[in-house]
């Protein structure tokens, strides 16, 4: 399964959708890391994520860690309630930088 990536305003926006689980989280991980390895700042759009499990969350954490190590920006945008619930349980809502939208990030600047 391939998740689309859109280049917008200097960011690679990874569009995750549907149910992110052990079956397709490796694909999510791959697309996130591929973008980061191109030295792109990455935002992961979770607005259309209906379900995410710990393997999906792990993909986000890997992206976060890779970005931090390589001085790249990594954030989440449009996090669905389903995804936010899991992030809160894992207390990762306090770790990831989360925006309502890419526009919000752009308005906030650096």
């Amino acid at each position: 399964m391939t998740f689309p990536v859109e280049d917008k305003q200097g960011f690679s926006v990874v569009m995750l959708s549907g149910e992110i689980d052990l079956n397709n989280s490796p694909d999510a991980r791959k697309v996130i890391l591929n973008s980061l390895k191109k030295l792109k700042h990455v935002m992961v759009d979770l607005s259309n994520v209906e379900y995410i499990d710990s393997s999906g969350v792990a993909s986000l954490v890997e992206g976060f860690q890779y970005a931090r190590t390589n001085n790249l920006e990594f954030g989440l945008i449009g996090v669905s309630e389903a995804a936010m619930s899991v992030l809160r349980l894992a207390r990762l809502d306090q770790v990831f930088v989360i925006y309502g939208s890419l526009e919000e990030r752009l308005e906030n600047g650096d």
Binding site: E19, D21, L22, N23, Y51, D53, S54, S55, V57, A58, S59, V61, E62, F64, Q65, E81, A82, M84, S85, V86, R88, L89, A90, R91, L92, V95
Partner: protein, 149 residues
């Protein structure tokens, strides 16, 4: 434990591609068992995490293992039993990790413990494998199983 009624029993092979199928069954069973939306998603996530652990650890990603999930309706709760046929686990080694330790893996146990009212391994079957049981009380009986934490 007295189980009043078995709602459903499913068996599937230990492949990640089967988890979505399981989740759909769980959602329908939860509806039948009277869980609300938040409780349903809590139960679905917890059972999914438990089955993921079986696939990844008990069967070490061997796609030909068998996983049995049974859901029982008690008067005050739904009880989910998950059976695998892998080597008996050392339950002492299964722990939730510190959430301050930010790393990709190891969240499954924490999620299960957080989402379910009761959970744990019960007596291993005589023919081997492991039997894990979770319980979620209906809203009137139990603590708030709100998945938002």
């Amino acid at each position: 434990m007295e189980c009043n009624e078995q709602l459903v029993a499913v068996s599937f092979c230990s492949r990640a591609s089967r988890l979505r199928l399981l989740r759909n069954v769980l959602r329908d069973a939860a509806d039948l068992g009277g869980l609300d939306e938040s409780q349903t998603e809590a139960m679905v996530l917890a059972v999914n995490e438990a089955c993921m652990n079986i696939i990844q650890h008990a069967y070490a990603m061997d796609p030909d293992g068998q996983i049995d999930v049974s859901i029982f309706h008690e008067r005050e709760a739904l009880v989910i039993q998950i059976r695998d046929y892998a080597a008996t686990v050392d339950t002492e080694k299964i722990r939730s990790r510190e959430l301050d330790d930010i790393r990709p893996g190891g969240l499954g146990v924490h999620l299960i413990n957080s989402l379910m009212d009761e959970c744990g391994f019960i007596e291993a079957p005589s023919d081997g494998g492991n039997l894990f049981q979770m319980k979620i009380f209906t809203r009137e009986q139990g603590e708030d199983n709100d998945i938002s934490g």
